[in-house]
Symmetry: C2
Subunit: 200 residues, 2 copies
Amino acid sequence: MTDPAPTRRGRGRRPAAEVRAGVLAAAGRLLLEEGMAAVTFGRVAEEAGSSKMTLYKWWPSPGALAAEAYFARSERTLHFTDTGDLRADLVAQLESFVRWLTEEGAGRPVSELVGTAQTDADLARAWSESYALPRRELARERLRAARAQGQLREDADLDVIVDQLWGACYHRLLVLKVPFDESIVPRLVDQALYGAAPPR
Amino acid sequence: MTDPAPTRRGRGRRPAAEVRAGVLAAAGRLLLEEGMAAVTFGRVAEEAGSSKMTLYKWWPSPGALAAEAYFARSERTLHFTDTGDLRADLVAQLESFVRWLTEEGAGRPVSELVGTAQTDADLARAWSESYALPRRELARERLRAARAQGQLREDADLDVIVDQLWGACYHRLLVLKVPFDESIVPRLVDQALYGAAPPR
DNA sequence: TTAATATATGGACTAGAAGTACATTAACAT
DNA sequence: ATGTTAATGTACTTCTAGTCCATATATTAA
């Protein structure tokens, strides 16, 4: 009809940074509050007040968008402190990791992201490249320093140590799905360092 | 219209066992050949020559159906052999596990099942109850016997050992998504038993 | 053997989500 | 200023999940 005020607001291009921030915020909020199943392009566009077209243009899949939104939120200053005491540093690092998964509520989003990554190649790539592999490298570096200082055997396989320590946590989170807390960490670290066999 | 041969074949009740077997076979085949994304009630019904209604009646979700189909296929005689040599038994068990995930092609279905379990509560329950927890118990039993024979410390935490050994494999499979093979197993077991710290 | 019940089937149907097309309009670059 | 890029609303087209029904047959009980 002859609308006297034809200013259809909202039409037309908007600042890229503004759109991007809005989309990531909406996707992150949906992931945390309603889980991965709610992170669809249609739903995120609606919540962000954006257009679906924009999302299809910039992200390869809803999973990849969810991952990026999550990384943007969990901008935690992750750096291995090196106090010179390997055992203490590993315990501190793993305790903060487990606390993050449990008390800080990251368990569900992380489970769902890793879970979805098994059937979403774009999410899998984002997860590996931006999250898992860089963190493994940080852990490896700390272990390398420890080995150089004689706190680990010369022939210790650093990758296997990382797999054992962090893999044990993920095992409970993803595979067994049993509740756990940071009290297991000291035993985990001691067993990785000193073994489960009786002293010779 | 006045069809002269109104014998619409296929209508009506069919033997329950026959239907069930057909559905599980079709679901298993789809899972292996096309992945979890292909295991939908509609698709499985079509492949099995059954009706969607039947699947909705008997299974709570496509994931739960896929899990049951997979268990039915992987009827491997899983029993921990106890030769008295803990290290050898662990190596054998883990090598067969890793070989199953890699060379025997179970990596993808297992990844996708565990992955989907993170967002499908029915699949998660089936996985935990029918697969993960029973197998953990078998491993625990073997470790308990070893501890009783003095091959493990008195205070060794058997659950943590299981998490470390199997978790390390799942870590590479699910989280890092890097290729691996059974050659890591001996290092894994040695590090779990004797630790990564230098001998005192 | 017969009657009663349970249930698998084909087919159609609804609801909703994924993904696409297009004209419009404002941001951005020069 | 001016031309280019791109984000928007709206509408549209599949697709899929999930449901409903009437019918025919297996299964069970009598």
